[in-house]
Subunit: 518 residues, 2 copies
């Protein structure tokens, strides 16, 4: 759809520009701003293409996913250079992100080919059962319908136009309308072109993918409210996610919204680990905190530990490392302004002490790292201290003992991740923490940092509210595909009417009377 | 919890009674009415028991589910007699329903033992991967937290106190607070006692199950709003379900509501089938419609067919069968009054013709069957004609051709079921219908009637809104367990900290790097 849409004639359609994140300067001609008519056209096309696309077999769909990856690679260095300019992120990071985006498409292609995603279940008829015969029942998963995807600013490739939400929706057999993030319209247009090329190369209906762009919230609101849209994928702010959830729930037919929103990702420093290597943990912590200007959903924004000498060593080392940390260009002026505001609120809080700050930057939108501390009692007294400040800021909560440490974690909101820094001597205390952390977070990790999010089968990038709007799901890893599926049961249907994967002799992974057959 | 709760001192606590459905007479002493303090106590107990209960191994949990079934059977004929009196349903139906309730617990016990419900995924570490090593990632499903279950009036055993929602939540490892349906408090008390006995016999924490009763909506509202409740299961009216959804979404931490609400279960009569056996289909249709006084969620409340001689034969035969159909005692006076109102609205509708009515009953709350007809154009012009009338009433929509038939089905709301009556000569036309029906219904069946709902692995008793509030799920069959689960990923955790089912050497069904291993 991307190449055929003409800008809408609505008043909002004044056009907007690609901005150089480093200089704040406008680059190139204005982008067309899509409006309500474009939303309607894209949704109609997605609906029209839905039955055709979902009827593709697993091989065809897997090939399509792989082809998208190939087309993205074929964009060459222009994609990297454009994304660097629009996001302010460095080359190595964006090259890695491109690899991740392509790898994700390949991983999902493998899942589609293996077929477990179809969730096939067959309960054969029992004609002789008394008092009544049992009918033949066969179940498979089908896609929900056309999916709206909101590109995220902080991963202009891996969480945007052809990112995890798009890839998992396409893998599920859903058609997709992307609302591209206005912070990287040129990057989005390149990637959308790659998807369009893959659609054409695979002989699939053009309408299965559309890419809409524009500033402001009207475009996204119209998209979520379109009756043809059946689900929404979003990564962004808590306010943005909650606004979409509200719109989706107010529809005549409410739809699921998978919004990945807000998390401070508590890192628990256990006593023995602090004693043995408090200083080393402090240095590594600042490395994780400042990576990518701290603009990760899984950034370690909260550190929780029991007071003592080990903790002092950690703090001293973290302060030293932070004093050396260079400022970094943030994604947009707006994100930078919000970060500055969040940091100022912590710095000015009566119960919060500033431990250290990073170097001041030169140029626009320079994010300066910051590390603060407070006590468990003070933290528990003010819910606002547990809120995310998006960027390289973190808050240490000093606890008097294990009871306070548990109280702080129990009081915390839902999180994407919870990290334990521990040594062997901490095992018993860590075991007491695990049941609590399982209730709070989608991923629990030991002796690492939450900022690395692997795209695999066992990854959960999700978690209880408000980390996401639906804690039963993940937006990273192959389990993300399941978000866009629903079960349909077929009872006593003639073979000719059954989907091919449910017919006798199917080779799909399946349960027969509840027992797994590969 | 059932036996220890004392009635609340709130003003609502006036007590209420078991009512004989046949006579409308009060039976026995007043039941205590539970109030806000009881809700808080039950939820606190469910939360306190949660970590203990979810930590049980699969064998212990399966044994507990089976024990509940045994305790229900041990209640003997007292349960059947009590349920007959409170529901007005006949003995054979309730004995069948008891068998279904116990069979469901056994089925779920089998699923729990096999362990597929845990969704284990293991992606082993790749220490030598370049540029960065891959961590060890292991995923399992855990229960969401304490679950609130609302008993349904129309299945006083299979969808009530120990019904599908309770059984699936317990199978998932969730603790449960049941809000018993006020139409059968004595039946509910007996079943709650059986669950309590199973809890005690299995040495499980008492608080894992509570049973609260009372008239009105305050009790249920308080339960859904309690911050310790993590999910809700409900079967009942559309208004009731939507009210609970609204409460759940307005919480500080919103929670999922699985409400099975409203469906007219379209039955499509295909031309060749009508020609060959229109009269026989008419008789069978009335049998399905009037079963259990029509008080099934899957009752065939909408018949759609193309006009012609075959359809006339169907109508004539259905009219004859209905004229002979005895009235039947409905579940409650309130349900009967709503049914009468719905029937009167159809009978008085300018565009609706009455085909036939069943016999008038003698006594209280006698549901008289009714069959109406309208045209496709008239049906499409008035959305209200597509709404459920709970009871033995159905509406035939006469279509001029296949185009109109498709238009009627496309316009229909989401449904639990869609039925096709067809012969071999209808196969091509039926094939054109399937993609449309898949978008509308959770279960598609051929040459049967939707009122039979098997409890198996491939059953879907669910469907797009407003059939349910969450079309991604089913409330019948083993897939219902998944509603109460969420994934947690464990990264680089020492063996001692990993859940047993995720340790090396686990025998759980699992994906290793995405490939299934049994």
């Amino acid at each position: 759809m991307t190449d055929t849409q003409s800008p809408d004639s609505s008043p909002a359609a004044a056009g907007f520009h690609s901005i150089d994140a480093h200089s704040g300067a406008v680059v190139g001609a204005a982008f067309p701003t899509h409006g309500p008519n474009d939303v309607a056209a894209a949704c109609a096309a997605a609906e029209a293409a839905f039955d055709v696309y979902r009827a593709t077999d697993n091989e065809a769909r897997a090939t399509f996913l792989e082809r998208i990856g190939e087309e993205i690679v074929a964009l060459g260095d222009a994609l990297i250079v454009t994304a660097m300019r629009e996001s302010g992120l460095p080359r190595a990071r964006l090259e890695g992100e491109r690899g991740r985006t392509v790898g994700q498409l390949k991983l999902f292609a493998g899942v589609v080919r293996r077929g477990g995603w179809m969730g096939v279940r067959i309960d054969p008829a029992q004609p002789d059962r008394a008092p009544l015969p049992r009918p033949d029942l066969r179940l498979r998963m089908i896609p929900l319908g056309p999916v709206a995807v909101f590109g995220a600013s902080n991963f202009p490739l891996a969480f945007s136009t052809a990112g995890g939400d798009t890839a998992s929706a396409l893998a599920a057999g859903a058609t997709v309308v992307v609302k591209g993030h206005p912070a990287h319209p040129a990057t989005g247009a390149l990637v959308a072109g790659a998807i369009d090329a893959a659609v054409a190369a695979c002989g699939l209906p053009k309408g299965l993918f559309s890419h809409l762009v524009g500033p402001g919230n009207d475009l996204g609101s119209a998209l979520v409210q379109d009756p043809r849209i059946a689900a929404v994928g979003f990564t962004g702010s808590r306010a943005g996610g909650l606004a979409l959830v509200k719109l989706a729930q107010a529809r005549a037919v409410p739809i699921p919204v998978y919004a990945e929103m807000s998390s401070v990702n508590p890192v628990v420093l256990m006593p023995e680990a602090l004693k043995a290597r408090g200083a080393a943990i402090g240095t590594a912590f600042v490395g994780s905190l400042t990576m990518g200007a701290g603009q990760f959903c899984t950034n370690p924004g909260l550190v929780v530990a029991i007071d003592g000498e080990g903790l002092d060593a950690f703090v001293a080392s973290a302060a030293t490392a932070m004093a050396d940390a260079a400022a970094a260009t943030m994604l947009t002026g707006g994100i930078h302004a919000a970060y500055e505001q969040g940091v100022a609120a912590l710095a000015g809080h009566a119960d919060v002490k500033t431990i250290a700050q990073g170097k001041v930057g030169e140029g626009v939108a320079q994010g300066q790292a910051a590390f603060f501390e407070t006590t468990a009692q003070q933290f528990l007294a003010d819910k606002a201290l547990g809120h995310e400040v998006f960027g390289a800021a973190s808050l240490l909560v000093r606890c008097a003992d294990e009871t306070e440490l548990h109280a702080v974690l129990r009081d915390a909101e839902g999180q994407l991740t919870a990290t334990i820094q521990m040594d062997a001597g901490d095992t018993d205390a860590a075991a007491r923490l695990i049941p609590l952390l399982e209730r709070k977070a989608g991923r629990i990790l030991a002796n690492g940092w939450p900022t690395g999010v692997e795209v695999t089968h066992a990854m959960v990038h999700g978690g209880p509210f408000p980390a996401t709007s639906d804690g039963r799901t993940t937006s990273v890893g192959s389990l993300a595909i399941d978000r866009f599926l629903r079960p349909v049961s077929y009872q006593n249907l003639a073979t000719a009417l059954l989907p091919a994967v449910l017919r006798d002799g199917t080779d799909a992974p399946r349960l027969i009377d509840g027992v797994a057959v590969q």
